[in-house]
Point group: C2
Amino acid sequence: MKIAIDAMGGDHAPEQIVAGALEAAVAYPDTTLILVGDEARLRALVKEWPANVTLHHAGEVIESDDEPAKAVRRKKDASMVVAGRLVKEKQADAMISAGNTGALMATGLLVVGRLPGIERPAIASMIPTVDGAGFLALDLGANMDATPEQLCQYAVMGSIYCRQVNGIERPRVGLLNVGTEAMKGNEAVKAAHGLIGRAPLNFVGNVESRDVMFGNCDVLVCDGFVGNVFLKTLEGTAAAIFSMLKAELAKDLSGKLAGAVLKPRLRQFKNKLDYSEYGGAPLLGLAGVVIKAHGSSDATALKNAVRQARQALMNGLVDALAQGI
Amino acid sequence: MKIAIDAMGGDHAPEQIVAGALEAAVAYPDTTLILVGDEARLRALVKEWPANVTLHHAGEVIESDDEPAKAVRRKKDASMVVAGRLVKEKQADAMISAGNTGALMATGLLVVGRLPGIERPAIASMIPTVDGAGFLALDLGANMDATPEQLCQYAVMGSIYCRQVNGIERPRVGLLNVGTEAMKGNEAVKAAHGLIGRAPLNFVGNVESRDVMFGNCDVLVCDGFVGNVFLKTLEGTAAAIFSMLKAELAKDLSGKLAGAVLKPRLRQFKNKLDYSEYGGAPLLGLAGVVIKAHGSSDATALKNAVRQARQALMNGLVDALAQGI
């Protein structure tokens, strides 16, 4: 199993990316990790490389403010693009990048290629629930205006991912909506309700964002605009509550005492809410495994993304998606 | 100043609605409150009515599962519809209802009427921020598919509301989006960005839902689908965090001790996050002041809605909206 890693993408590249790759190399000795980037710079970071890590030179880097499609077309020797080419040419089975999300989507579309039958790939990610099980939400921002047919494709892809990678036999598929009744929603969602209902899925109907963190579905389907707003509202609300709680605990002596007891628990608890713990976000609908790691990925996050890419490969995700569509 | 109150609408009607009206009658002796509903039933609830509360009989009730427009057309003697008619016929200056939201919107459109120039009224509500100032978000669910022009009308109406009712001279208007760059978003939002930018508003551009609770705008503009998902994600995330925190504090002795100190603070803190504390949600764009109180309104919430209706009336909200459009 060979996994190409864009060593130059992300806020803490290349140091943390390389550190994560080294951790993953120890944890998964059956896997070869191909670090793609400035070879001289990468080589200088480590004295002794493990046998299952190889370096693959790429002379350019896509920056976070590059215009995605243009950058992918022009910077043919960018680490991200080269990693995508390794997947396309079957020199790698999967790729991981913590770089520019739009550029990774463009690399997926223009370099790796789409699965036949998929109009638009989707960004999927596990979202935490109170019971710790989590659910897969898609699309979280690849495609801003989804048609009902595209929403239905997301439902199929999300369901297959949950079955192949998370091992859930009949994943409960929910459609993100403003009410549970079938006729609720905007025009695209109303039409999608009918399409998903007729697909061979375990469709539980419309679900409300108020309820999803309490675990009422395994796959949450939405367009990329709504999904991105949903994800960022979740992050923002959690951040706001923790910041208010922190201020409350710093107010006086009894608060500080309670805070001393609570602090380690709150940290644990914050980690439980941190969706990057689940690994990266797979780009579903491409002709290869492509994982978007969080831009701020540290070594642990990168290692988790490798674990996730391995699971996708071992469970034959791409073949299952190609057959399921 | 006369405010009509739908005494039969809401989960705790008529008891809590009447109790709230009595509290408001004491707090605001200059205001006449017209309780609309089953007169015999209402009369039996109170021994001595304050001089500034009057009863107005209405023989029917719109139920929470009634089909909105149909119910408003057929149940001409429903308490909600009669309250709307009092506003239309200038026998009341404002109306408040904790009943069926869709039916209240239909009452607004079909009975009270729209302001000239407004295509679709919007539901607006104050959302809490970490600093306690809050911001006005609209639309939160009146209109599922908003055009760029309608989004721009929301921006204008929200800005006028913030100036007239909240006393903010130049309210900062933000457009809810997936990124801050001008070209981000779905087609409707991209077009709205240009329109709002050319309107005579203090437009701060696109804002992300991750940041809004930290107070980066006074008015948040979005379509009713996205707004409703946003609001319910906020509610759901807060509920999920509090439920996880509660479980954490019940786990062992030191947790329980910390919990004993924290409990009253957490309650206070939860109230800070409870947007119903700000009163009800005004329906903006109608030819009268119409306030939607939360379906689960108790006496305090209803009293807050009366306070809000008074503020809107005293500050000439409807005239300002009519002129501003």
